[in-house]
């Protein structure tokens, strides 16, 4: 039971890291875009 739970938890944590990378990538993109688009001014 505990082993099964641990395996499931490991899979969840892996998915969580992917989610975090996507969210973090989005945040960095917004930061860079907010400056880059202003360079035309």
């Amino acid at each position: 039971m505990q082993d099964k739970t641990d395996i499931e938890m490991a899979a969840r944590l892996k998915r969580a890291r992917v989610t975090a990378l996507i969210a973090g990538g989005f945040a960095v993109s917004v930061f860079l875009l907010s400056i880059v688009q202003m360079l035309k001014v």
Partner: protein, 537 residues
């Protein structure tokens, strides 16, 4: 079998021994939540001390206590400390403590990043506050940091670095909350079965990752304008100072909702508990929060009506802003409907929640007045605006945090707080806060500008009343501190696992105080035990 396995697991992974390992190196969501809450309470008192300086100076017309530049530093620092140091970390602390407990997760998805998110903050605020002691002083151009005013002085780099650190902390915290809610929910805890507080934080976290980088971009451009001779906002070099206002408020307006959406979630937890009814219109509440979050991206220029927008833009931003009243009205209606016919009791968290509903609505109504572009030319930059946003942020956000502290402190500490002193704190706060801020509406309508250390004698009486309310409200918060310290360290009254008779949800199924580890084995979700996420309602 499951129980035995869980028990062994607990034995091997108790709370670390030693202060450094337990608190500085912590990866436990409850300990990090506690750290956030202690930090935010500390900042609340520092920011409050700045407010006391402001109200003392404005007690009478004429220059009384401080120099004008120091007064400007106080208004700027009061805002920065309260927004980024008190309100936001308090909500993150509540999320850290409660979100994993509410969704049946053993911890946040990324515990080490959680530690880093918190420990960045004390350094950021040490740097920000240290500018007050530097030659030339701290920031004094207002929390909005409009150039060229904000670029005067020598502390610009420190302030901008501090803001970058706060932003990084907020973004990492938001990413952690999104990853936790989307991936760590117990089996059976569907999205539309989650408590409204969890929903409110999921939506807030998306707002955070969308707009905090915009603030980071804006202040980075300020930095390069100041030190690297770029001309993003320098009119003499072909730049545009108004552009900064657009970028800032594209961040700034969603930021206002970042400070109020979790409050909506908290109130949506407390009112059903003390009305002993499921929340009225669960799905409507969730969709209303999402609608408000969406609308927050298309209303930013209502902060800039007076700077010469094209007529079409003024009309668009005016109507878009007024549209926010619709989902907000849905929420207020649903809170009242939840109470309607309920078997209500009035413990301290419920009192703060009812005060929230009434006083936040007053702040909402003055917001509707400010949304009217033609009228805003009269109200802009006056004390009417100060009254408006303090009703939203003090009797809104801060009251909801106090309600949350009273509501969940039995779960955190294992003890009940003193209901008598809690009620004394409530009544003292709710009366004084109105003495403090309600006269400011009249001052603003009569034309008193904000951010000034001296004023016309015509405004003397209301300012004196407001200052008395301010000192009273400030002193009232010492009662809050006393109630918390007493509850955590001295209270003899043990809290039950389900500390409130009408409370539902997973967080009330674990012991009080919540053990160091919870839900190592995912809980089984029963629909009748859900807070109010049972969509059959």
């Amino acid at each position: 079998m499951a129980h035995a396995a869980t028990h062994d697991h607990h034995d091997h992974h108790g709370a670390p021994k030693g202060f450094f390992q337990r608190w500085v190196m912590s990866t436990n969501h409850k300990d990090i939540g506690t750290l956030y809450l202690i930090f935010s309470l500390t900042m609340f008192f520092i920011g409050g001390a700045f407010a006391m300086v402001i109200r003392a100076e404005l007690f009478k017309p004429g220059m009384q206590l401080v120099q004008p530049y120091f007064f400007n530093e106080m208004t700027t620092m009061h805002a920065l400390v309260m927004i980024f140091g008190a309100i936001m970390p308090a909500f993150v602390g509540l999320a850290n403590w409660m979100v994993p407990l509410m969704v049946g997760a053993p911890d946040m998805a990324l515990p080490r990043m959680n530690n880093l998110s918190f420990w960045i903050l004390p350094f950021a605020f040490f740097m920000l506050l240290s500018t007050l002691f530097m030659p030339g002083g701290g920031p004094a151009g207002g929390w909005t940091m409009y150039p060229p005013l904000s670029l005067q002085g020598e502390s610009v780099a420190y302030v901008i670095f501090a803001i970058h650190l706060m932003g990084i902390s907020s973004i990492m915290g938001a990413i952690n909350i999104i990853a936790t809610i989307l991936n760590m929910r117990a089996p059976g805890m569907d999205l539309l079965k989650m408590p409204v507080f969890v929903w409110s934080w999921l939506i807030t976290a998306f707002l955070l990752i969308a707009v905090m980088p915009v603030l980071a971009g804006a202040v980075t451009m300020l930095l390069t304008d100041k030190y690297f001779h770029t001309n993003f906002f320098n009119a003499a070099g072909g730049g545009d100072p108004v552009l900064f206002q657009h970028i800032f408020w594209f961040f700034g307006h969603p930021e206002v909702y970042i400070m109020i959406l979790p409050a909506f979630g908290i109130i949506s937890e407390i009112i059903p508990t003390f009305a002993r009814k499921p929340i009225f219109g669960y799905r409507a509440m969730v969709f209303a929060i999402a609608s408000i979050a969406f609308l927050s991206f298309i209303v930013w220029a209502h902060h800039m009506f007076a700077m010469g927008l094209p007529m079409g833009a003024e009309i668009f931003f005016m109507y878009a802003t007024m549209l926010i009243a619709v989902p907000t009205g849905v929420k207020v209606f649903n809170w009242v409907s939840t109470m309607w016919g309920g078997s209500m009791t009035f413990e301290t968290p419920m009192l703060f929640s009812i005060a929230f509903v009434i006083l936040f609505t007053i702040g909402g109504f003055s917001g509707l007045m400010l949304a009217l572009a033609p009228a805003d030319f009269q109200y802009h930059d006056t004390y009417f605006v100060v009254a408006h946003f303090h009703y939203v942020l003090v009797t809104g956000a801060a009251f909801s945090i106090m309600a949350a502290a009273y509501y969940w402190i039995p779960k955190w500490s294992g003890h009940m707080y003193s209901e008598t002193w809690g009620k004394i704190h409530f009544w003292s706060s709710v009366i004084s806060v109105n003495v403090l801020f309600f006269p400011q509406h009249f001052l603003g309508l009569a034309g008193m500008p904000r951010r000034i250390p001296d004023y016309n004698v015509a405004f003397a009486n209301f300012n004196m009343v407001s200052s008395i309310g301010g000192f009273w409200f400030g002193a009232s918060q010492l009662i809050f501190l006393g109630v918390i310290i007493h509850c955590v360290f001295f209270s003899k009254k043990k809290a039950a696992d389900r500390s409130w008779e009408g409370a539902k949800g997973l967080e009330w199924t674990v012991p009080s105080p919540a053990p160091f580890h919870t839900f190592d084995v995912p809980p089984v979700i029963h629909d009748d035990e859900l807070a109010h996420g049972n969509t059959d309602h």
